[in-house]
């Protein structure tokens, strides 16, 4: 079947087989390299995309369900102020997510801060729990998200909270 899909602000027509998942067409047909699908069960979080503005596991979305939707991958946000701040915050907190989960963690943090500019520790851990990679320790992850939130709030609202 042919699927019309907007990926990173570009309208694409892709061929999908029945049983294909969104992650399959993004990786195989559109060569989106930031996706590192691993478990294919919605557990590892390495295939995160924003689908119509919501963070989803692209391995759990049947390709036909993505018809007509707007997909945004890490490539679209890589140069954004949000992503730059989150990466800088990781660096400042001496938290270095590995190459396998870095993009997913950035997307998860961006999603959290967009919904809640001042998340508490529990919310941060709950959100980052969606990326099951044990490379970074939880304390520095929480610190990093706090720093990222501060930078974001300063930029967006010209204030540094907390």
């Amino acid at each position: 079947m042919i699927i019309d899909i907007t990926v990173n602000n570009v309208l694409k027509q892709v061929q999908a087989r029945s049983g294909d998942r969104l992650v399959d067409i993004l990786r195989n047909e559109l060569s989106i390299s930031s996706l590192q699908p691993d478990c294919l069960r919605g557990s590892c979080g390495r295939c995160f995309v924003f689908m119509d503005g919501r963070l989803v596991h692209s391995c759990l979305v049947p390709a036909f369900k993505a018809k007509g939707s707007t997909i945004s991958t890490y490539e679209a946000m890589a140069d954004s102020a949000d992503a730059r701040e989150i990466l800088l915050a990781f660096e400042k907190a001496q938290c270095s997510p590995c190459a396998f989960c870095r993009t997913s963690k950035v997307m998860a943090v961006a999603d959290l801060l967009a919904r809640n500019p001042l998340p508490d520790k529990e919310e941060i851990l709950r959100q980052l729990d969606m990326v099951s990679c044990p490379c970074s320790d939880p304390v520095s992850l929480v610190d990093a998200v706090g720093i990222a939130a501060e930078m974001r709030n300063k930029r967006k609202f010209n204030r540094a909270d907390k």
């Binding site: 294919l40 590995c98 396998f100 729990d129």
Partner: protein, 694 residues
């Protein structure tokens, strides 16, 4: 730069693609032991081929990864999931489907599952040592105890599933894979495709978390990929699915440690008779190292005048099993700590009291030679841990609750325990390639330092530590320190980067080579190159107690660990509430990074204690259901460093959580339950059964 490429992060195997590249999926045996297997010829779609051992007979290849472990099964099958061949083609998904659909025919045989009472043909490696008159001590001692401690099979949960890619680069073959030991990959692949080692280039990919599970297995997959690439003259990638990785790749070995002790009325040890049996599954090339490490760790930090140790690595018809975290020492250390707790209970003493009276002290040694030149810092660690964990109050409270409501599931079921342990840099391997580390540093005209070593496959945290060491030695900013790509054609061969020990050796070498540059810096023109290498030649046979005794506390880092747990009243699952660690690992180069690495290791070590035991007999269905701590459910973790300012020497610390946490966790579990479990991990239902048995 000498033409070397600098790098920040290594490529990810899963993301690598080359023009004309094809994928290979493994055809696996569905039985554990069989003879005369045959694979029916099946029509494959155009562009897909099947490769089995018989097809490779005419090729210039060596199908024996080791004498008793072929790359592809030839006549017989030795474990469920063994590679019978490959399906090679352009679509990885279709390759997987075709490989799964292959139905081999076998003359099935009864697999050797038994390993605790084994036959002589199952022995892969044996090590025995005796010091003092053990039998006499047993005949004279008033108290004799015997207990068996077991641990389960545990999955490493690698960051990326196992795989390898073989590509043609002009006249050489390039191997891309995530291995802790790139030099071993090069040697193995060269042997498999029968070429010189210089014709093979290993380009390491991002390693992620490996926990000593990627010491040799990646080279086995790389050999298969290389043979496939040689056969079809195209780049070939093998990348296991996550499920395949879980079911068929290397796991932590299962072990049983039997400790017979003789002690006097005060609980002072008079003799230890210990038998260690480690089930290495079908094969493990590092069996000897694992056995030696276990034997060295099994006396813990305790003194005993008569010791007999017999240690075995046993083969069985299950998947390959091996090291995790501390290369065999975890099982042994957990066993002796559990046994001391058992003796404490029998003697009516607290664990700390019985441990104190049995502690090795300055001037004494277990094997009559190499007496300790300082006391074991047990009291210091104990005191500090008691203070930061509020141990005494909690221990007394939980004892009180237990005595009032013995066996009850109504109140809180909690336990807390302390243990003191150590990590050493000892290596018993006689293989020089395993102990030789090389570092080359170049200070160029821009005052940028380039560190060239195969060990730079390490995590960003480790590289940051090495960067800080080099920057401090040369008084240059850390941003001026770079790493050369760890490719085997541009870096000198290096031993394995294990969880912790290789890292501290490389740190010393970097410091040494930077100091050499610093001496020449204002006398010679830039660039200046300096090399440093280490070569630890050991007697691989470890024939006497003297050779073992001399290495027991070789470059030891010390730590005290306290673990507090709570048992879920409904499910019986043990949940860690808090972990405290006090560590003396010499100079800490980067405190924040060390803390961060330790916290990650602590979580992994706790997972060892709470995850479900992997059952190799019925592996299906266990995938992603083996239980892991989630971020949202983590215990409090407190870490303190002791005496890190007093010394300039850095020692390894990454293995400390793996050594001490299982022992402390088991001890806390014992307090919580009121009965001594003899194995780790324990499932919720087993814990409930123990509670109800009271």
């Amino acid at each position: 730069m000498n033409g070397r490429e600098r790098y920040e992060t290594l490529p990810i195997l899963g993301a690598l693609r080359f023009p004309g590249m094809v994928h290979a999926s493994t055809i696996r045996s569905t039985v554990a032991r069989a003879k005369n297997f045959s694979l029916p010829r099946e029509q494959l779609p155009t562009g897909y081929i099947r490769v089995i051992a018989a097809d490779l007979a005419r090729e210039e290849t060596d199908l024996a990864y080791a004498d008793d472990f072929p790359l592809f099964a030839v006549d017989s099958v030795s474990y469920k999931g063994q590679a019978l061949g490959l399906i090679i083609g352009p679509d990885p998904g279709l390759c997987d489907e075709l490989a799964k659909a292959v139905r081999a025919e076998y003359d099935e045989e009864e697999p050797e599952k038994e390993w605790e009472s084994f036959s002589s043909s199952q022995i892969a490696c044996r090590y025995a040592i005796e010091y003092g008159n053990v039998d006499f001590a047993f005949s004279k001692s008033p108290r004799k105890e015997r207990s068996v401690y077991r641990n389960g099979i545990f999955d490493h949960d690698y960051s990326e599933p196992m795989g390898a890619l073989a590509n043609w680069e002009y006249d050489k073959m390039a191997i891309y894979c995530a291995s802790q030991w790139p030099d071993q990959v090069r040697k193995a692949v060269a042997a498999a495709v029968k070429v010189s080692e210089v014709d093979i280039v290993v380009r390491p990919t991002h390693l992620g978390r490996s926990l000593d599970g990627r010491l040799w297995f990646p080279s086995y997959v790389a050999c298969q990929a290389a043979i496939a690439a040689k056969l079809c003259r195209k780049p070939v990638k093998i990348l296991y699915t996550r499920e395949e990785d879980f079911l068929y790749t290397l796991k932590q070995a299962r072990s049983a440690v039997t400790i017979k002790s003789a002690s006097d009325d005060d609980g002072r040890l008079q003799a230890l008779d210990i038998k260690i049996i480690i089930n290495i599954g079908v094969f493990n090339p590092n069996a000897q190292e694992i056995v030696h490490q276990a034997a060295a760790a099994v006396t813990g930090i305790y003194s005993c005048p008569a010791i007999r140790i017999e240690a075995y690595a046993i083969r069985s018809n299950i998947l390959p099993l091996g090291a995790m975290g501390s290369i065999g020492a975890t099982h042994a250390f957990f066993s002796i700590e559990a046994h001391l707790n058992h003796l404490a209970k029998l003697a009516g003493k607290t664990p700390a009291e019985i441990k104190t009276i049995n502690m090795l002290s300055k001037g004494f040694s277990n094997f009559g030679v190499h007496p300790l030149d300082s006391d074991i810092p047990f009291a210091k660690f104990h005191k500090k841990l008691e203070m930061i964990s509020d141990y005494r109050r909690k221990y007394a409270s939980y004892e009180l609750v237990k005595k009032r409501d013995s066996g009850s599931r109504d109140g809180i079921i909690r336990g807390i325990a302390l243990t003191v342990g150590y990590q050493t840099g000892r290596s018993f391997s006689g293989k020089l390639s395993m102990n030789a580390y090389n570092v080359e540093t170049t200070l160029d005209r821009n005052l940028d330092l380039v560190i060239s070593t195969q060990s730079s496959i390490a995590s960003e945290n480790l590289r940051a530590m090495w960067r800080a060491t080099a920057a401090a030695a040369l008084s240059i900013p850390e941003s001026s320190v770079h790493f050369a790509s760890p490719n085997s054609d541009t870096t000198l061969p290096c031993g394995p980067l294990t969880l912790s020990r290789g890292a501290s050796i490389v740190n010393k070498l970097i410091e040494r080579s930077c100091r050499a540059i610093q001496k020449k810096r204002f006398r010679e023109s830039l660039p200046i190159v300096a090399k440093a290498q280490t070569r630890i030649s050991r007697d691989s046979a470890l024939s006497s107690g003297a050779s073992l005794g001399g290495m027991l506390f070789d470059s030891a880092s010390w730590c005290g660990t306290a673990v507090e747990i709570e048992i879920d009243r409904l499910s019986g699952e043990p949940q860690p509430i808090a972990v405290w660690m006090v560590i003396d690992a010499g100079r800490i180069v980067k405190k924040e990074l060390a803390l961060s690495s330790l916290r990650s290791s602590i979580i992994s070590a706790l997972n060892l204690c709470i995850s479900r035991d992997f059952d190799p007999e019925k592996p299906e269905g266990q995938y992603l259901s083996h239980g892991q701590l989630r971020l949202a459910n983590l215990p409090f973790i407190g870490i303190e460093f002791m005496d890190s300012e007093r010394t300039t020497v850095s020692k390894g610390l990454g293995e400390l959580p793996f050594l001490t946490i299982p022992a402390a966790f088991h001890s806390a579990l014992t307090q919580a339950l009121g009965v001594e479990p003899r194995q780790l991990p324990l499932s919720g239902s087993e814990i409930l059964r123990l509670l109800e048995s009271q």
